[in-house]
Subunit: 224 residues, 2 copies
């Protein structure tokens, strides 16, 4: 169910909630900006409609606070002539705005357009964190906690991912080869190369291996 919070100080609140209910939204009324904030955290809605002319709390502030805590889409209502506020609202992270007076179907259309946008945004694979190292598989980047990020190549990233996921346990050479190149491809020498190159990137000091440990004759392991 698509949930929606509106502000009932708005003169058009009943028309609005009626329209949106008809369009399949669950509408939660809030009595002022602050309570919109409260209700937001209580109900975790899919969409928030904010009136910029909130009596008790500046609508822009509410917008900012909501955006600071989540990326719930926000539609701003405004009266004509407040173009400055609209710009500010969009800068603060609002997703759309509607100028009063608005037509019901326009409101519905916009609400659904906004929802379409946010729901179609792809889910990114979660970064893997071990110790002070964080691997972002999508960007092939390693963030080194205290400082600096390193760009990895695709293969380096794949190897790193495998090692980090199975941290602590020793991964045989063959296993690693398979996980990087797939079965029936790659060989020991290439893996050696890859480990070497990866180490140079994430272990500035070559003398004592900080993360990737060699287990002679068997394989490698990732230690925190």
């Amino acid at each position: 169910m698509k949930t929606l919070i509106v502000d009932d100080d708005l003169a058009l609140a009943d028309v609005l909630s009626f329209t949106m209910r008809r369009a399949g939204f669950e509408v939660i009324m809030a009595h002022d900006g602050q309570s919109a904030l409260d209700r937001w955290s209580d109900n975790n809605p899919d969409l928030i409609i904010l009136d910029l002319n909130l009596p008790k709390l500046d609508g822009l502030k509410v917008c900012q606070q909501i955006r600071a805590q989540s990326n719930t889409p926000i539609i701003i209502l405004t009266v004509r002539g407040e173009e400055d506020d609209v710009v500010k609202g969009l800068e603060l992270g609002a997703d759309d705005y509607i100028v009063k007076p608005f037509s019901p179907r326009q409101l519905v259309a916009r609400a659904e357009a906004v929802l379409r946008r946010v729901t179609t945004s792809p889910v990114s694979p979660a970064p893997i964190q071990v110790g002070e190292l964080t691997l972002d598989p999508l960007r092939s980047e390693v963030h080194c906690g205290n400082e600096g990020l390193v760009q990895l190549t695709k293969l380096e990233c794949k190897l790193m991912e495998t090692l980090m996921i199975n941290r602590g346990s020793v991964l045989p050479i063959e296993t690693l080869i398979d996980s990087v190149w797939g079965p029936s491809a790659g060989d020991r020498v290439m893996l050696k190369q890859l480990v070497y190159r990866l180490r140079r990137k994430i272990e500035p000091n070559p003398s004592k291996p900080k993360y990737i440990q060699t287990v002679a004759g068997v394989g490698y392991t990732f230690e925190t």
Copy 2:
């Protein structure tokens, strides 16, 4: 010229059309709901006034059909006590309703209000703002905050929109191709081209990419 279709089964049809003509509308008479539909497609009017008590065809059905084919604004006429129908009409996408008997001045005012709504605010896509860039998908324009606006082509605009909506996350090549050309069309080379052309328009300085970041081997991301 503002064009308007009314239904002449309406008892007040002549008063109505007289009033509206005086207010500067061109009035097209229709003999019943069906012919209102026909005339609508013939004349592509700016506004339609529908009587719910159409004799031959249910006014609500007409409303629904019209709305299914366009978003031409609709005003519903109703007699007092038909609140249910009004509700249904609004549900079906009507923009306003007027209770009979109505005063001519009120009718004109409402008609113009409705027109103002639909003409003064963009209907579907809202501007998207990220950082100092604002994309107007309707006009395919990018405003660059401090200075200047750039005209984009359709494809450039689509790409820009996708990137801005998903700002911060890495969009794989395939995803971008789908979002611009749809599935089973387009290829990497064309996307490369498109990115190249878009960059030349929004990033005057080619040396350091300001917005569109390349993630080698994966895709692109829009950074603020």
